[in-house]
């Protein structure tokens, strides 16, 4: 079984304890308390962190010293038999994402276009932008990054399934896997690395692909001239170096992202997982603050990266007068492939 690569010394000597001090869902009196709680986690002792963590993934980004606080918290929770969410919800996710041989794989040569296990991605990954890779689309539990189980502190599921997923891609002969789901890329890079799982193909982040394609199609772009708010997904915390791509892509298609409070490191969860894990009070509060902040920024669109965030927030942002749209669809709008009015 794979094990988390973890260096206790890095934490023991941490001068900032940012992993917990910056947390938006738990509060600590100061460095000493936060650091103390994290050390309890490390030593395998009980800590309130193990009961209160909302699983937003953010500490993976807050830690600048190369350790993996979130994975460790999740490991410890599982070791102690703690459930983040209700047991039937946790098991539902495990059952639902089991490989049953019901996957779909297109004609993969060197490249595969991963639609994870999310039907919406199959539609997003079509059209002019993806014309060369769309025939190589793959979909299904067999190709799904199992990162979602970190929300439920079931790291064992990840350790068991991720190597199989990787093997499935290898079987297809893929040398490059373009990941349409942020989380897949995060899994094949950050999580696989943290557990020492070998990834014998090159994971490609879809926003890198999108940016280069949009540059190629520069002549076809009509600047959209709109202001948007961006909903950063939890899994982007695993790959913070990729965050700037959003601005680059939006710049290219004439879209402005006015500054707002809950952006970048300070972004808020879409609320879907919070609802399962902590109940509606926290989820409602987070969504309300997030959405009001979007409105206050002067945005007219809410741009999504993750289809799960989009599903959770679309109706709600629409009620606030913002138009929900995936960043890929926004690019399709810029090249005239999609109507500007979105549902």
């Amino acid at each position: 079984m794979y094990a988390l690569k973890w260096k206790e010394k890095i934490c023991a000597t941490c001068p900032s304890a940012d992993c917990l001090l910056k947390c938006q869902y738990m509060s600590f009196a100061g460095h000493d308390e936060a650091h103390g709680e994290m050390m309890k986690v490390i030593r395998g002792e009980d800590s309130r962190v193990l009961h209160e963590c909302a699983t937003c993934y953010a500490c993976e980004e807050y830690c600048k010293r190369g350790n993996h606080p979130f994975y460790l918290i999740s490991e410890r929770r599982e070791e102690k038999g703690l459930f983040t969410a209700p047991r039937p919800i946790t098991n539902q996710w495990i059952n639902m994402t089991q490989m049953q041989g019901k996957c779909m794989a297109g004609a993969v040569k060197d490249k595969a276009l991963s639609c994870c296990f999310i039907p919406d991605l199959g539609i997003l990954g079509q059209g002019e932008i993806f014309k060369d890779v769309a025939p190589a689309a793959v979909f299904g539990a067999e190709y799904m990054c199992p990162a979602v189980h970190t929300h439920f502190a079931r790291m064992s599921v990840i350790k068991e399934r991720l190597p199989k997923v990787i093997e499935n891609f290898v079987k297809l002969g893929a040398k490059e896997v373009i990941c349409l789901h942020d989380e897949c890329y995060g899994t094949f890079t950050a999580i696989a690395d943290a557990y020492g799982i070998d990834v014998p193909f090159k994971p490609v982040y879809y926003m890198d692909f999108l940016l280069s394609r949009m540059k190629e199609m520069k002549d076809r772009i009509t600047p959209l001239g709109i202001k948007v708010a961006y909903q950063r997904p939890c899994s982007n915390r695993l790959i913070p170096d990729k965050y700037p791509l959003v601005r680059e892509i939006l710049d290219l298609i004439g879209v402005e992202i006015p500054d707002r409070v809950y952006q970048g490191e300070n972004c808020l969860c879409c609320g879907e997982i919070l609802r399962s894990v902590s109940g509606y009070k926290l989820a409602d509060d987070v969504q309300e603050r997030n959405l009001n902040d979007m409105v206050a920024s002067g945005a007219s669109y809410c741009v999504f990266n993750c289809p799960a965030c989009q599903s959770s927030l679309s109706e709600k942002v629409a009620k606030k007068g913002l138009k929900p749209v995936h960043i890929i669809d926004l690019c399709k709008m810029a090249i005239g492939e999609k109507e500007r009015e979105v549902k």
Partner: protein, 460 residues
């Protein structure tokens, strides 16, 4: 024989009667597992007077008459066990009146659920009726006649309790108005404060007369409907959860269901909770009450709310089209269920029985219980799918269903829309004096024994 056909043609015209092999074959069966039996004629009346004439003829000639809506009870209630006339009521499908202020509708005896739904949506969007999840072709009168349930049954009781008046052709041919319409033009009460004569026709499965008009209560159609889905893997908690939920008095409809496939549903019991409001505030308030009342189960990690986003359209649909899809799981066009009415306390025992029967008879199950009248009881469906091309599987399903009914009776439950065999089992267990009363009523109303014979038959 020729004379009877001729007489029928005289009553309903050439297009209203058939004795061709095709119609006889089709009207000899329903989509369930019971053995078909051929009728001699299929007749489709258009008016009450035609129904009356048919019944008078049937009396004269001593021919059985089996009234039929869409024939979707699945338990063979429209199979003409002793031949005779199957009376397809669906051409009597007019909506006669909607009294919006008194919130009732009067429709003809063959009017379908779907047509009333569409009519109200267009002409009275502030009103709705308790639409069942059976296909929209099923009829309002037949549903009431077998004590059907609908989307408002949790709040307001069996759909048969919503009846506000009847026009019935008695087995002896008299046209009889029941309830307030027997005294005046209004269809607001099926009986009270007089003796409730509607009970002579509801639950009798067409053995005491033919409903040609029916008044039904309508209810407010709130502007917003919403749904939450609570799941738990502990069946023992279900009665307690339901008790707490019904205490809220805010739920439109509550269904508890479990099925082994697809895998997302494996191992869990799902409680679908519908609630309504006229404003977002009302909806939010109700949602919070629902969550708050179940907080203890979330704290103990025994239960939680699952995301309904992907299923919402399907769950909100009325009727739910997806329900019929269960029939195609074994790729064979069939399912049938036993749906006893029982107390909520017994949910765990019934749930165990479903799984036991499915394993014993090697058949696919799905189960769904609907709360009735704020939790006073529930309809617990023990549902098995089958392949119509596999007679052995159909026999296994039949045995499993028989055993389910025997179990329900043992547990003190009441079989719902029982087939003729289940009716016998029920009558055997019934208090003898109640049975005598039943027999007395039946004999007096139908002295010739022509109405849907073989059903509720005390001394066959």
């Amino acid at each position: 024989m020729r004379d009877i056909l001729k007489a029928l043609v005289e009553i309903v015209g050439e297009r209203g009667v058939s004795n061709t092999p095709e119609e006889l074959w089709f009207y000899s069966r329903d989509p369930g597992v019971l053995t078909p039996h051929l009728p001699d004629y299929v007749v489709a009346p258009r008016t009450t007077e035609e129904v009356q004439k048919i019944v008078l003829l049937a009396n004269r000639e001593k021919i059985p008459v089996v009234p039929m809506g869409n024939g979707m009870s699945l338990t063979g209630l429209v199979i003409p066990l002793k031949g005779g006339i199957v009376l397809d009521m669906k051409r009597m499908n007019k909506i006669l009146e909607v009294n919006a202020m008194a919130r009732y509708a009067v429709v003809e005896g063959g009017t379908s659920q779907g047509v009333l739904k569409a009519y109200l949506q267009e002409h009275h969007p502030q009103l709705r009726h308790s639409i069942p999840d059976a296909p929209p072709t099923t009829t309002i009168a037949a549903n009431a006649a077998l004590h059907g349930q609908g989307r408002l049954t949790q709040q307001y009781g069996f759909n048969s309790e919503m009846v506000t008046g009847l026009e019935v052709v008695l087995p002896t041919g008299e046209i009889c108005l029941i309830g307030s319409p027997s005294l005046g033009p209004y269809w607001f009460s099926r009986g009270p404060t007089m003796p409730d004569l509607s009970a002579l026709f509801l639950g009798w499965l067409g053995t005491t007369g033919i409903i040609t008009k029916i008044g039904m209560r309508l209810y407010p159609n709130k502007k917003i409907r919403d749904v939450e889905l609570f799941v738990t893997d502990r069946v023992d908690l279900i009665p307690h959860i339901l008790y707490k939920l019904t205490h809220l008095e805010i739920l439109e409809d509550v269904n508890v269901w479990f099925q082994p496939k697809p895998l997302v549903f494996k191992g869990n019991y799902h409680i679908t909770l519908y609630f309504t409001g006229d404003t977002e505030e009302e909806i939010t308030f109700k949602r919070r009450m629902i969550w708050d009342t179940l907080q203890e189960y979330m704290d103990s990690k025994d239960g939680g709310f699952m995301s309904v986003q992907y299923m919402k359209d399907m769950l909100m649909e009325m009727p739910q089209r997806g329900i019929a899809d269960f029939a195609d799981v074994p790729k064979g066009g069939g399912f049938e269920y036993s749906g006893p009415i029982t107390i909520i306390e017994h949910f765990p025992q019934y749930a165990a029985k479903v799984v036991e029967l499915a394993a014993k008879y090697d058949v696919l199950y799905a189960s769904s219980a609907r709360l009735i009248s704020g939790g006073h009881c529930m309809m617990f469906s023990i549902s098995f799918a089958f392949n119509r091309n596999d007679p052995a599987m159909m026999t296994r399903v039949k045995h499993a269903l028989d055993e389910a009914t025997a179990f329900a009776l043992e547990m003190g439950g009441i079989p719902w829309k029982p087939n003729f065999m289940e009716q016998k089992m029920t009558m055997e267990k019934m208090d003898p004096n109640a049975l005598k009363l039943l027999q007395m009523i039946k004999k007096n109303l139908d002295p010739q024994g022509i109405m849907n014979p073989g059903n509720w038959e005390v001394n066959p």
